[in-house]
Symmetry: D2
Subunit: 287 residues, 4 copies
């Protein structure tokens, strides 16, 4: 099976390397062509356009920065749509909203292609380590064929049903993460103002039923007010906004998450948009 | 070292048994005297009053249902205060507010006794298994002497400083737990209304940075709307109220937790006060 | 000055009649042509298309149900854009989002026309009584020329600056109204549950600094749970959503209004979407 | 009918003068005796103790700063309780919680006295102008006899039923006021950040169904960030806290008001505790 890969940025670099390491034959393309060199050295073939990658591959994976970039990659000249043909698979692993994903999926399937959205949970390090969580929605036969490749890139892949479900699942997961982080930071601030040791608090939390990697990793960083970015706060706030909008569509009130979202917005207003999402702590401590 | 134990209810039963199992010499007292029988069989000595237990022991542990019961145990005739004398230790492990705890502590130390509050995190099963988390505040020398006993009753004990800190730490921890549960239930409801599988959601959560025993245990129960009580919702809501009141005292806004608290109140209004605190789901789904 | 009027629905009927009563020469058009008859009887001229109205008039006013209808009225065949020419004025009084309004404005001005958005505050009765509040943004010369017509339709007109400001002002005003209504309903429910008379509460409110027509009119209706629609709850919730989205764009947290919005969503989930917006009371009382 | 008056502070000064102006015979007492002079000049009799005032009067009114002061006035040596006897009336107009009020009422009625709580809505100026709103609960016969005096001090008096209802009604009213102010400030901030004129916003609000004296008076002060105190923010936040606690007792969720309360707390944390309650704007704008 011949694979293609489009988008060799922060995420794509690790993912494409993991495909090569797993022994897959890989054709790559990146808008800035120079980024392809290390992959060619590692055995990949470089193509001049996205369409060429698709033509050369059974399944093409892509990961770019946002819905606009996804759309451009598909619909621009010499884009994915120009290369697609009967039976070929295209897997967009970008974080993409359900509408954009459906639009791309419909265009590709109209030309006989197969489409899967497969946004990932995890950032730079899990991408490099091959420990992403992959949330797929769309063509089930394509999912089955791509499974070995998913295993090379992630520690878990789930097939969630129709196109849109992958995108929506990611929103739900990130919304829960946002509320959990805001509640955690409120507790850390309260402990501090009440004269308790936040190190003791982290110890207690880690010994009990709430024990989780996020508190364990972010807790000490929040204590040190060290907000080097793993997942940018502005992206978290955008995902919370979209999740709440999804709640609006289906008439599901989300009062705790809506409050948390306001704290993330406040943190943006305080200048923390490009810091880690744990910098919501600034909005909570300032206040 | 001779130990005493007051209060052989749901929690105390497991805790006193664990002290006996660890080989401690134990004198016990319970308001309903018949509950002492199994402990006497297991090697404990039964006393007629709380004061007698204190007189017979170097350190006396107690766990009763609420601050009023703690106060009664200490201040009523033939209570703890009547038995205390120079150097003796008293450790109240009930969930008790900082004010009550200080009042008891001052009365005992005025008569030469030593006092430690040591509320626990964990319910019936961890009490029986000896895996409680013990949050102690007060006399440090007493904490050090009691440490072996704490090891028999819990998997972790922390000395948190002055009287009141144990009580307040427990409030902070439970407040975080309440916000986390409310955010989790909102996510579960949103997933369901948006046509996603909540089983998939639980899978995704368990694979990532938020993975924790609470989601793992409560998630399937929430799916089944099975709210058999482990930690009663009304107690969680009371703790959130008290945590938010603590925030009021120290001028720490807690907007996400305050929203979560309103959902717990709503669940109370819907009749879920005596169900498990995960029944906050009812307030979120109804709405 | 010759005026035109497009859209003779619930709002437009009262407004066009008020223009005729004030003595203006008026050409009218409505998609369902039969609705024009009473206006012709009252002295108006009927046109076959929107374009014809624009051609026959110096200034054309329009009020239709939503942004899609506004866009259709402008851009469809024989629509406003087909009739516009150098110097002619077009005033869209529909409730319209800033983006749609800008799009229409740019298309018309590109052909030499002048454009004003002028959404109104007030519903059927104020439209009939000529007591609307008119929130205008766009061409200032057109505003000045339209002022006499605005006086016939409303009790107050404000020129708010560029296109988009009228739309945004309406969102801000309705957002405040939503928060005020939610807080009011919470107070009414609390009074009732606490054994106080809500009639007394309304009396006290009306005697003090908060005294306002909305509490005076809606209060007794909320007591009677009589939610006959003046302003539909689903429209209020949509406006709150859009106002909060505006806050998101400009990084203004809106925590109280966001909470109120969740209550309106809950009321939608409880089936009150098409009742009056005061039916948010149902979400608050149920809970 | 002989009246007495205890507490000649900011509020009491205006109220006692209004009783004298209305022609009542008045005996006065104040802890700092020198404050009695202007009342003696105006025709009042000065007494040495609160008990003496009660002995000399048919009905004694009192207004002091908080529940502790109310309790001291009643229970200390030569206090109200020492002077009370069969049939005499005592009307405490302080802002007082239901528990304190019940305690005072029970003590007085046990000695044959009659008791009414009558907290007021309104601050210094309405006290001077005789335009307070009086919220009375307790002995109905006493209310009827005091009505003429209430007419001299207020523009409206309501008999609300049993002791506690006056206190609770005041909490409900102030809670609504707090939510309304927070929503208003959010709207003002949003308008400003979105490039709208807040003066236009105030104009629009004043022309519509929400038009009220509070927006009219506070709006321009909020624009100027002029927070000279009429009603201190810390008192508003305390009342919101107590109202929400009342909601907790009766299982009434209050999510919008709880969010508003968090903004008031944040304003306290930002140093606005002793400014006017409209300074909640600082918490909303900062954020």
């Amino acid at each position: 099976m011949k694979l293609g890969f489009l988008g060799l940025g922060i995420m794509g670099t690790g993912m494409a390397h993991n495909l090569l390491k797993a022994g897959f034959s890989l054709t790559v393309y990146n808008r800035t062509a120079s980024k392809c060199a290390p992959f060619v050295e590692a055995g990949a073939t470089q193509a001049d356009t996205a369409a060429d990658v698709v033509r050369a591959s059974d399944i093409t994976f892509a990961i770019v920065s946002d819905p606009e970039a996804s759309r451009a990659l598909c619909f621009s000249e010499n884009g994915v749509l120009d290369g697609i043909s009967e039976g070929k698979g295209y897997v967009d692993m970008s974080t993409i909203n359900a509408e954009t994903s459906k639009e791309i999926g419909e265009a590709l399937t109209a030309k006989g292609g197969r489409y899967l959205e497969a946004p990932v949970s995890g950032s730079k390090k899990p991408a490099a380590d091959g420990t992403l969580i992959i949330l797929a929605g769309g063509d089930k036969s394509l999912y089955d064929e791509a499974e070995k490749a998913f295993e090379a890139m992630g520690k878990k892949a789930l097939y969630l049903g129709e196109v849109g479900n992958g995108a929506n699942m990611k929103l739900v997961v990130n919304m829960i993460m946002g509320a959990m982080m805001a509640g955690f930071c409120e507790g850390m601030s309260l402990a501090e103002k009440a004269g308790l040791s936040t190190t003791d608090l982290l110890d207690v939390l880690d010994a009990g039923a709430m024990s989780n990697p996020m508190f364990r990793i972010k807790g000490p960083l929040i204590q040190q007010e060290s907000f080097g970015v793993a997942f940018p706060l502005k992206h978290m706030q955008k995902d919370m906004r979209l999740a709440i909008a999804l709640g609006d569509q289906v008439a599901q009130p989300l009062s705790t998450c809506a409050s948390a979202n306001e704290s993330f917005k406040k943190a943006r207003a305080l200048g923390a948009a490009d810091e880690d999402f744990s910098a919501v702590s600034k909005a909570i401590k300032t206040s």
